[in-house]
């Protein structure tokens, strides 16, 4: 069963960092980090936090590993305006959901402007902007 040390090593290697680099960024000694990754020493939560901050990694994942995701069936909601836009643009169901999910992934913004649900024209504009900007092989990354 993977340990904290295993996960730290996994994320560090994904990042392309050496132990020395991570140790320096996290303010830890290389020897200590090596021992942790090789499961020879325990590591405090404070030091895991330092590593998470240095790597920009998920603290939860480093501490506890992959969480089991609960299977919840939520009703799929497509707003009327998006539905109309999808019809006008002849989008597939999958493309429509992708557009909805893309918009919904913008979860917060600090601004003084009021937030309104997008209109049909705004959904169409969003679709065009995304289509223009997304590189062709980005879909592979999503897989």
């Amino acid at each position: 069963m993977p340990t904290i040390g295993d996960r730290i090593k996994e994320i560090r290697e994904d990042f392309g960092w050496t132990q020395e680099k991570l140790a320096e960024e996290a303010g830890l000694s290389k020897g200590f980090l090596s021992d942790v990754e090789n499961n020879k020493r325990d590591i405090s939560s404070t030091n895991v936090l330092k590593i998470a901050n240095a790597l920009g990694a998920s603290l939860e994942y480093l501490m506890r590993g992959e969480e089991k995701k609960q299977e919840t069936r939520e009703p799929i909601q497509i707003p009327v305006a998006l539905s109309k836009a999808a019809e006008d643009l002849d989008l597939s169901y999958s493309e429509t959901l992708t557009l909805r999910d893309t918009y919904n992934s913008i979860i917060a913004r600090r601004s003084s402007k009021s937030l309104k649900p997008p209109t049909v024209e705004e959904w169409k504009h969003l679709y065009k902007v995304i289509k223009k900007a997304v590189p062709p092989d980005a879909d592979e990354a999503k897989g």
Binding site: T102, S105, I107, A108, R110, S111, K113, S114, A138
Partner: protein
């Protein structure tokens, strides 16, 4: 806003969605809920400064801050994440318009071990001064994120030309958590001054802007103080006429030094010290002299609130005050301290 925030339906709904049961003030309950979470982070990971707490809170809330300092950096971040399949980043330029200081995305293609969210903080031009507070504002959104909020488009209560009440609430939450009493209160004692504020800023939140720290620390200061921001402005009636171009054939009014904002801390409110918005600054006040640059960028003097005259001709209360003024760009910040 036409109604008070605590009476707004969206705020009551948010409180309910968070599992809270407010009796009459959902704003207070939601702020308390957020403070509890941040205090739990602090208990788990003790921090030496507010800046450390900001980083720790971001980690606990599973977001990564990415600052953008130039248009080139924006394009770089946009391409980086688009190449990872994060299609929402196609909208990054559009999202970060002049009045938008930060935006948080939920990752669609996060790999194992990567954070679930990413908060883009726009630090281009003047927005850089707001970066510290913008980060806390984004964390306020994450502290109050509910399942229902994932279907954001279902909200139909925001109306045209109305500041979003939830955004206003996030500003209130950010104001509370960014200068947490546990860090500030033991230092915010004695006579307040801009020098003391600068020292505390260096100690507790060096990445906060001068203005942000003046606002935050003044609010928490133990002794009474009203923070005034002054600049050139017009009377309300003059503003209306200017907007209607009513002065086409008449002499246009002259802008005068007025109060843009006046924030009294709790002690000042309890002492009954009140300075209305848009009131003219008395010509004899040190605030005028600092504004016109007769002294070095700051000065202080003992004055009286009765010098301040309202538009109806009446004056503020007879109360001796120590006024400490400091130039801040085109405006003047002033600490108005009652002499007791």
């Amino acid at each position: 806003m036409p109604t008070k925030l605590k009476d707004d339906f969206q705020i009551w709904k948010l409180a309910k969605d968070l599992g809270l049961k407010p009796k009459d003030d959902p704003v207070k309950e939601i702020v308390h809920y957020c403070l509890q979470q941040v205090r739990a982070f602090l208990k788990e990971f003790p921090c030496d400064s507010l800046s450390d707490l900001l980083e720790t809170s971001a980690t606990k809330l599973d977001t990564k801050f990415v600052e953008i300092h130039s248009d080139e950096e924006l394009q770089g971040v946009k391409c980086e994440y688009l190449n990872k399949g994060e299609t929402a980043f196609a909208l990054l330029d559009e999202e970060l318009k002049p009045k938008v200081y930060a935006v948080t995305f939920r990752r669609l293609t996060a790999k194992r071990g990567e954070r679930q969210f990413i908060s883009i903080i726009d630090c281009r031009d003047d927005k850089a001064f707001r970066a510290y507070f913008s980060k806390w504002h984004e964390l306020a959104h994450l502290l109050t994120l509910t399942q229902q909020m994932r279907f954001k488009f279902c909200r139909t209560h925001a109306t045209e030309n109305k500041n979003d009440p939830e955004e206003a609430l996030m500003e209130i939450i950010a104001g509370e958590i960014s200068f947490l009493p546990e860090f500030v209160d033991r230092h915010a004692q004695g006579e307040i001054s801009f020098e003391k504020i600068c020292e505390l800023r260096e100690l507790l939140c060096s990445d906060a802007s001068f203005q942000s720290s003046v606002i935050g620390f003044t609010k928490r200061w133990a002794s009474p103080c009203v923070l005034v921001e002054a600049g050139l402005g017009y009377k309300k009636s003059e503003i209306r006429k200017l907007e209607q171009n009513a002065f086409d054939f008449l002499e246009k009014p002259t802008a005068e030094l007025r109060v843009f904002h006046a924030n009294a801390n709790d002690s000042a409110r309890q002492a009954g010290i009140f300075i209305p918005q848009n009131i003219r600054i008395p010509k004899a006040s040190i605030i005028h002299q600092v504004f016109s640059g007769e002294f070095v960028p700051q000065g202080e003097a003992v004055e009286n609130l009765s010098w301040w005259e309202k538009s109806d001709g009446s004056s503020l209360s007879d109360q001796q005050v120590l006024v400490k003024a400091c130039r801040n760009g085109e405006h003047v910040l002033a600490l108005i301290i009652p002499v007791l």
